[in-house]
């Protein structure tokens, strides 16, 4: 008897993709004949379908006009479409990405600094501990309307929402990292003549880095969530705004385009963080992939 060769992982993944997309595209066609087999949720009114989503993507991305003609690159149709539509896919993505980046940057740097200071000072951490616990217990998203109210519907409110979602995550990780430093390293550095500041720079920060990096991957996702929620509450541009607009028009395909773009953006950002992490933590054994 011959053993069957195992189907490769990639083949399975392709198969699953094709299956899901096919059900999405054609599944609801069976609803009329077999209502018990196909859930109502598959109704394209709610979830659209791949072909419509792709069509909507071409329109929102200014590749095609609403009438179905392709916008020429050289005759200026594309540029005109870009200029005419206030919140086309490109501008929306750029705005959302920009705000995510600044929110992430602000959250990571302030969370890191605060975590480092409190993590190395028993006194400060004792004083601030109850406040931190209290503020951390607030679901951060609940603050988004207040932030939009305070900072307006411009970019700033998105950056602040994003910051407030990210900062605690990074803070707690840095704090834990700074707490769990091997005192042996600190002693060695001291013996070799390091001052307190030099110990912070040469021992505390590098050994905390692994902890900080562990938080960066969720932090970038959180930053994106913060921006999108901010855009839901009130914005002129951005992917979140695109979703709200499509929702107002009951256009599932538009929402799906936005969601898929967000997915791609999320994957790209995570991959970026992962690469950075692998490079900066190359001294760690498990990161030696090369």
């Amino acid at each position: 008897m011959r053993m069957r060769r195992p189907v490769s992982t990639l083949a399975w993944q392709v198969l699953i993709c094709v299956a899901v997309l096919s059900i999405w595209q054609w599944g609801y066609g069976l609803h009329g004949s077999f209502p018990w087999l196909v859930p109502d949720l598959l109704d394209p009114y709610f979830v659209s379908k791949p072909s419509e989503i792709f069509g909507q993507f071409l329109i929102l991305g200014c590749f095609k006009s609403k009438l179905g003609a392709f916008n020429g690159w050289f005759n200026g149709d594309f540029a005109r479409c870009m200029a005419r539509t206030e919140n086309n896919l490109w501008i929306a993505t750029a705005v959302t990405l920009k705000n995510t980046f600044f929110g992430f940057l602000a959250g990571v740097s302030s969370g890191f600094a605060a975590g480092l200071v409190l993590g190395r000072s028993d006194r400060l951490s004792a004083i601030f501990q109850p406040f931190i616990t209290a503020v951390n217990s607030i679901p951060r998203i609940a603050l988004a309307p207040i932030i939009v109210l305070a900072f307006g519907i411009g970019d700033m409110s998105k950056v602040v929402t994003s910051w407030i979602v990210v900062v605690f995550l990074v803070f707690f990780n840095t704090f834990e990292g700074a707490r769990s430093i091997d005192e042996g390293f600190v002693n060695v550095a001291r013996l070799l003549g390091a001052s307190e500041w030099q110990i912070t720079r040469t021992v505390v920060i590098p050994s905390t880095m692994a902890w900080v990096f562990a938080s960066l991957s969720p932090a970038i996702s959180f930053a994106l969530i913060g921006v999108i929620v901010g855009e839901f509450i009130g914005a002129e541009r951005g992917i979140g705004r695109l979703i709200i607009e499509s929702e107002a028009r009951a256009e599932a395909s538009g929402m799906m385009v936005a969601v898929i773009v967000l997915m791609l953006v999320g994957v790209a950002l995570s991959a970026l963080i992962w690469r950075l992490q692998a490079y900066l933590l190359r001294w760690q054994q498990h990161n030696m992939v090369e």
Binding site: G184, F185, N187, V188, L192, G193, T202, W283, Q284, M288
Partner: protein, 268 residues
Amino acid sequence: MQPLANITPIKPAARAGAVQLGGVGLVYKTSGQDVVAVSDVSIEVKPGRFAVLVGPSGCGKSSLLMMMAGLRHQTSGAISINGAPIEVPDPDRVGVVFQEPSLFPWLTAEENVEFPLTLRGVSKQERRAKAEEALQLVGLDGFGKRHPHELSGGMKQRVSIARGLVQDPPVLLMDEPFAALDEQTRMTMGDELLRIWAATGKTIVFVTHSLTEAVYLADEVIVMSARPGRIVDRLEVALPRPRTFEMLSGDAFGSLRDRIWRHIRKSA
């Protein structure tokens, strides 16, 4: 003409021991009780000598070393290194090699060796040159770019020794540096250390709990006992140098080792 011998133009610091401990004691409090960790220890190690502190665990030999390094403070007595008291770590006078390799895993071997120089703002060029020299001395040229996890236990300890030597301190303190190594590597590292010692002429104070290692390496073995940590014997090891593997089975070696063992057995 006056005979020059009467003028004795030798600096007092050079005549005194490179490492001098006079009546050193260490008492610390645990839950209200005073624990005497080290009691009335006096040691003098002459420049260029290899002294080994040996004793059962808990005899305070590592505490003594930490005090000599300036990382802990004795509660009584005085410690001086090269003729001056030591109160804070002074890498110019004292190099330290620890039990664990204690290298920073995020730095390369080279950067680890350079570390004490980096702290003092020595220029990159000078640092590199000195680190290279130190790594060469410990037999690790060509390994500077590796991170600690890419090195074997013995190699890590060599890097550690290179770091202890990079500022060229007259005194090198070693706290059970080879305890974590396997037997073969340990023997090799012992020979390596003797070679480095001969090449640099440092004064070495070496802590170990291995009797064989103590006798094999030392000019002078200081035997300590526990509770409280105090000196119970001193032995001159008159075996010729270079020390060889064959000496380990000789009578002279055996009787020295037995003498130490009797002290340790009594106090353990």
